[in-house]
């Protein structure tokens, strides 16, 4: 039996009520028992928040590794795990095993592979995988080139009420590319693809989703043209959502200067106009989710010439910290930011989480939005420190992560 926990003197950020008020929270038996003022049981432990902010734990949509230390350090209490594992999550037994991987400190919600081996050819047993605990279905790191397969996937997933998470890059255009066409790729002599590759994929998949009535989620969008397509589709009622990770609203392709492989991402970093469009899309609600795309890659994958390095960044630990820039810049109010990091991804995947009310699972993050620190890739808590933000002075730090009423950091 876990002792009751009373968190006193917190600024409680409620993304649903959109409120930001001082108060206390009582946790009993892994659930939130009371919010506001209450008399704690005699055996309750007390945590003095000292005025720090308390929000629902982050729900990270689309991570590539179960990296407990990184998630705890970043305030993440639930992750939707991408099917790009070894082997790919294309079988019910694999899904079941992945779902059990993190408990009780972290809940892992596997995303089923849309096609066998993520090859893009034959549909995987997504119905059986749903029954085994898959929260959605994804195309993985690549798009499905065959429009017929994508069409049937969307139709099939719609009948199962599964959201399809799509990677939005037209593979014909991006084949071999490691950067976005533009001045940086030209100067550095890097194989590059036009940014329109993203919109090409988004346009096709929106058309197919509209035809089938399926719900489609683009895990990472990064270009003005793609956001425009999503914005327009939403306006006419298509069940489309999209996500972004901080690199795309904070960094442009200038960050690849010096052949910095930590900035080698998929999709690649874009130009300044696209970065501005990303911020605008977050501001106007086109973007539904902010995720980390956590993909810890060691030196074997990154200490290589730029074009030979693998794409991906370690992002869970810095997800909240970097996203707080949106609040400081006046793009979002803090409760709205928390909604993008927690409530929206939980709702999108039909998961518990993202709320801060009596009866909800006590998944919480306590953070100081003003604390200054410096991101240091050598001192990351997670499996690897491959962050393009290495060395960046930042503001806002996770102090405590609570999963199911238990302090995990």
């Amino acid at each position: 039996m876990i002792k009751p926990l009373a968190i006193r003197n917190a600024r409680i950020i409620d993304p649903i009520a959109k409120s930001d008020v001082s108060g206390d929270i009582l946790i009993i038996d892994r659930k939130i028992a009371a919010v506001g003022s209450f008399d704690a049981p005699a055996d309750a432990e007390t945590l003095d928040a000292k005025g720090a902010y308390l929000a629902p734990g982050l729900v990270d949509l689309g991570c590539f590794a179960i990296d407990m230390a990184a998630f705890a350090a970043g305030g993440v209490t639930r992750v939707a795990l991408m099917p790009d594992q070894s082997p790919a999550l294309d079988h019910a037994a694999l899904v079941q095993r992945a779902a059990a991987a993190g408990k009780p400190d972290l809940w892992v919600h596997p995303i089923a592979a849309a096609t066998k081996g993520l090859s893009g050819n034959d549909l995987a047993e997504i119905g059986l995988m749903k029954a085994a605990g898959a929260c959605s279905v994804a195309t993985g790191r690549h798009w499905i080139a065959d429009s017929g397969v994508m069409y049937r996937l969307l139709a099939y997933a719609a009948a199962l009420d599964l959201v399809v998470i799509a990677h939005a890059e037209d593979g014909g255009l991006t084949s071999g590319a490691v950067a976005t066409e533009g001045e940086m790729a030209t100067r550095f002599g890097l194989p590059a693809a036009p940014a329109i590759a993203e919109a090409m994929a988004v346009a096709r998949d929106i058309a197919l989703a509209e035809r089938t009535g399926a719900a489609i989620h683009f895990r990472q969008l990064s270009t003005a043209a793609a956001f425009d397509l999503v914005r327009a589709a939403k306006a006419r009622g298509v069940r489309v959502t999209c996500g972004i990770s901080p690199a795309y609203f904070l960094l442009s392709d200038i960050a690849i200067g010096g052949f910095r492989t930590f900035a080698r991402l998929s999709p690649p970093l874009r130009d300044n106009d696209d970065v501005a469009a990303a911020v605008a899309a977050i501001r106007d609600g086109t973007v539904d989710v902010i995720c980390s795309s956590h993909d810890p890659l060691g030196p074997e994958a990154k200490r290589l010439p730029y074009a030979d390095a693998e794409a991906g960044m370690s992002g869970a630990e810095t997800l909240l910290t970097l996203s707080l820039a949106l609040v400081r810049d006046g793009v979002l109010a803090l409760p709205d930011l928390v909604a993008l990091l927690s409530t929206a991804p939980a709702k999108l995947l039909g998961l518990p989480g993202g709320t801060i009310e009596p009866g909800a699972e006590a998944d919480l993050v306590l953070f100081d939005p003003d604390a200054f620190w410096k991101i240091d890739s050598d001192r990351m808590a997670g499996a690897a420190g491959n962050t393009p933000f290495d060395g960046l002075p930042v503001q806002g730090k996770v102090l405590t992560t609570i999963k199911g009423g238990v302090i995990v950091k």
Partner: protein
């Protein structure tokens, strides 16, 4: 040189033309001049690099450039070791950084690197203690080629500033084009790049070059016509309909050359695809073609670079 004067070339490595000041480029060209004279004698030897170990680490096939660096190193008295990819541990899965650490442990005094990936030379340079010289990395840079081209032009024309140089062919895949754009614009030339749209990098004008898709327009009045090799090995997919069509639209023939200035210089970094980007009668023209002279300048430029980059190591006064 007095120790009080600023060092004329303060860089530890030569990974590219990017980052060099115009006077630093000119300094290397000036230094190369003395080696041209030496190379034309029967002695061809200077012992200033005696005792130093030069490793030519070539991860990508090369004959001409490797030979040029080997001759340059030997003429300066260095112990030259050639490490080619077929002999190296890279094929056994050793990473570039492991190789760098190994070369460093062997106390190389200078490492010349060629690699098929852009940025590989910088990565290696970050991990070793001795100077590193880029002999071509992917599509990124080939600084000594740009220097030897600039030296060839300067000697033939007497100056570079104000000249119009047309670089023609496969610009997209060319490290030679990138280094030449940077070097020649820094020295005051107007640089045009001529290529079909599929072989033209986007935003090339941001590097200071003026792009042309029409070969004749790009050649119009040019003082120097620099042809590039069609790099078929770097092309997968529909870049061009055929070499025949490329030749028809972008091949340098005597008739085409008439578009350029009457005394236009013809250059090519080699190896040439004769009959594709250039025809033999132009390539071998006794007065217009500077192609063999480029090869000669290559040795002199590389001697200059090896000399300059090792001066700090050799304790030359003013280079501490």
């Amino acid at each position: 040189m007095s120790a009080n004067l600023p060092c004329p070339f303060p860089h530890q490595h030569l990974t590219g033309i990017y980052g060099l000041m115009p006077h630093e480029i000119a300094f290397l060209l000036d230094e190369a001049e003395q080696w041209i004279a030496l190379n034309r004698t029967t002695t061809k030897h200077d012992s200033r690099l005696a005792g130093l170990t030069l490793i030519n680490a070539f991860f990508e096939n090369s004959t001409r450039t490797l030979l040029s660096f080997e001759i340059a190193g030997k003429r300066l008295g260095a112990d030259v070791v050639n490490m080619q990819v077929s002999q190296s541990s890279v094929k056994k899965g050793e990473t570039l950084i492991d190789t760098a650490v190994t070369l460093n442990a062997m106390r190389a005094d200078m490492i010349v690197v060629r690699h098929q990936s852009s940025g590989a030379v910088q990565l290696l340079a970050d991990k070793v203690d001795c100077p590193v010289l880029n002999a071509g990395d992917g599509r990124h840079e080939h600084p000594t080629q740009a220097l030897l081209d600039a030296l060839t032009i300067r000697r033939r024309k007497g100056y570079i500033a104000g000249l119009t140089v047309a670089i023609c062919g496969d610009i997209l895949h060319s490290r030679v084009a990138r280094s030449n754009i940077l070097a020649l614009t820094a020295l005051g030339a107007e640089v045009r790049v001529v290529a079909p749209p599929t072989l033209m990098p986007t935003a090339i004008e941001r590097m200071g070059a003026k792009p042309f898709h029409d070969f004749d327009a790009g050649l119009d009045g040019a003082d120097v016509v620099m042809m590039l090799r069609l790099q078929n090995e770097r092309m997968e997919g529909a870049y061009l309909p055929s070499p025949r069509e490329f030749h028809a639209l972008y091949g340098l023939t005597p008739e085409r050359l008439e578009r350029a200035a009457p005394d236009a210089l013809v250059m090519h970094p080699g190896p040439m695809n004769r009959g594709v980007e250039i025809v033999s009668s132009v390539a071998d023209h006794p007065t217009r073609s500077a192609i063999t002279e480029q090869v000669e300048m290559g040795v002199a430029v590389r001697m200059a670079c090896l000399d300059v980059l090792t001066r700090r190591r050799r304790g030359v006064e003013g280079w501490a």
